[in-house]
Symmetry: C2
């Protein structure tokens, strides 16, 4: 299997991309294509003692930055490391893409360079987030600021297929983020989406979910517009950081506390790890016709490796074919 | 000073209302009017050994439930304990209102029974939430599902005056919740609101804030529509609960952990308290012509007492007069 990676996406590129790629080649036996400035890539690999075995470099000097207009990936930056990698995917020279660069540019690129699946209205970012007793997929967590009910229905379907096949959750519970349990709550978007999801027999819709119940593991696929979803994703990140910081304060105030810290260090570490998005690797851009995985912007080598593992599993379980099948079935049901 | 309280609002009413009222009479020297079924109130007080000194009962048997249509407070439930209390406030028979009942009904009641301040487009729920190094006000945290930029401008102004006068934050930093720092981010609502807030010289607008930075204390007044704000409020609550639960797990797995727990118990308790909304009492419905404080639905007696303290401070610092003044100044500046 061949995975193409954006060599210059993310805060720690190209180092973390190279580290993750090296580990992935060794651990998963995949082949890697990395895009970006060949000289810098080779220099970084050499300086950090990273083997380039199984890693092919496709040279390009341009990079699209996070602060830039995402649509420039189609124009000024159509030869950036991200665009070049997506083109290789579109041409089927690789089986999947992994990158930690600009989410906006990746959404545009996955939609218009790789292209959406037939019948899919919008690609959506499905981030898998730790919760009580497991994890849930937040769908959409940032690709589409404005949404329509039909898009929510597709998010629910794609998220369910992903959670079932990649994470192994049987008959995933789908819930709609809202400010109350009653079906009359929220704005028109929520009210109309509730109806549409309730009528849909392709997903296991359990109704509205209040944000309070999301981290408590009350649903497996949590459906929201990309604005709300992105706020939820980032608030989760910020709160975990804040609370772990407060906890650190508890354990460093005085000798007795430090002693106690030493005694539970292993457990605290385990707790921290269980909250860590890095274990899940990255977020798939579901709806793209080929597997596209968005790794976190601040990924280190380990997180990037996990994102590659995720891409591999995505290809192996053939999630996209399953989504296409489900869409086809929907169409048949409609025309009956 | 006289505070009217809804005797039958909240999960633990009327007990917690009575407990909070008794404490408030003793600690703050306020007088309390409590609305609701006189017989039940007297019986509950007697059974729980609560003194009714300084507490006047205004009898009414109806209650508006959380699940009911909020607008019924004006019709079917216009003699409910909440409506009766708000009417006493509107007639100036009390200086402020505190209640833990339905937020929706309270928003309708504060807007149409008590009435909005002149010039205020909508009342908004300003919840004060703990954050790194202090706290912030989330404005609006649930009163208005759909908002316009001019409303955001008023939320920013009212929130700033509250934070400065009640919480004691000098020149509060106001930020707009968005999915990126750049002023072109978000939907049209965010883009237009950014412009309006940037032009406003009455508030200290520091730009967009990503949800990640909110718990890290990067702003003092966090402006959002009531849908997004409510999701943020409830997610904060749920995540704190989830993480404290995980922490409990760390400290109860094995003898060594339990020993360590005993050693840091006091600090952990301090951390838990610092995260506790109960310390802040309740959320003011800013923009109402008389002080209206929404106590948390699951308030206990202590939280209810703190909400009464907050109402007292609201009256004493004359936040409403300061808001009116600021609105007047705005109007003058416009007409110049």
């Amino acid at each position: 299997m061949k995975i193409v990676v954006d060599g210059f996406g993310g805060d720690n590129a190209p180092l973390c991309v190279l580290q993750g790629s090296e580990m992935a080649v060794k651990e998963y036996g995949v082949e890697i294509i990395i895009t970006g400035d060949e000289e810098i890539i080779k220099k970084t690999a050499k300086e950090n003692n990273i083997s380039l075995d199984g890693i092919e470099i496709v040279h390009t000097t341009d990079v699209i930055e996070v602060c830039e207009d995402p649509t420039t990936i189609l124009k000024e930056h159509n030869n950036s490391s991200m665009a070049a990698a997506l083109k290789l995917l579109a041409e089927k020279k690789a089986d999947a893409f992994v990158g930690a660069g600009s989410t906006g540019a990746l959404v545009v690129g996955a939609s218009l360079i790789v292209r959406r699946m037939k019948g899919i209205k919008r690609v959506a970012l499905g981030t898998v987030i730790p919760a009580k007793g497991g994890c849930y997929m937040l769908m959409d967590s940032g690709a589409n600021v404005e949404c329509r009910p039909e898009m929510f229905k597709q998010f629910a379907l794609m998220g369910s297929i992903y959670m079932e096949n990649i994470i192994g959750v049987k008959n995933p519970r789908v819930a709609l983020v809202n400010i109350g349990a009653e079906e009359t709550k929220g704005s028109q978007l929520q009210i109309d989406s509730y109806k549409l999801l309730k009528e849909s027999d392709e997903v296991n819709f359990i109704g509205n979910i209040e944000a309070r119940d999301v981290p408590l593991g009350e649903a497996d696929v949590v459906v929201a517009d990309g604005f709300t979803g992105n706020v939820m994703l980032k608030l989760t990140e910020g709160l975990a950081k804040y609370l772990m910081g407060e906890l650190k304060g508890v354990f460093t105030s005085g000798l007795k506390s430090k002693l106690a810290a030493a005694m539970v260090m292993k457990n605290i570490k385990g707790m921290k790890d269980s909250l860590d998005y890095k274990e899940y690797g990255g977020a798939p851009l579901l709806g793209s016709s080929m597997p596209v995985i968005k790794a976190h912007g601040s990924s280190d080598g380990y997180a990037f490796k996990n994102a590659i593992r995720q891409a591999k599993e995505f290809v192996e379980t053939d999630v996209n074919a399953k989504i296409l099948n489900a869409l086809l079935k929907q169409k048949e049901n409609k025309s009956e």
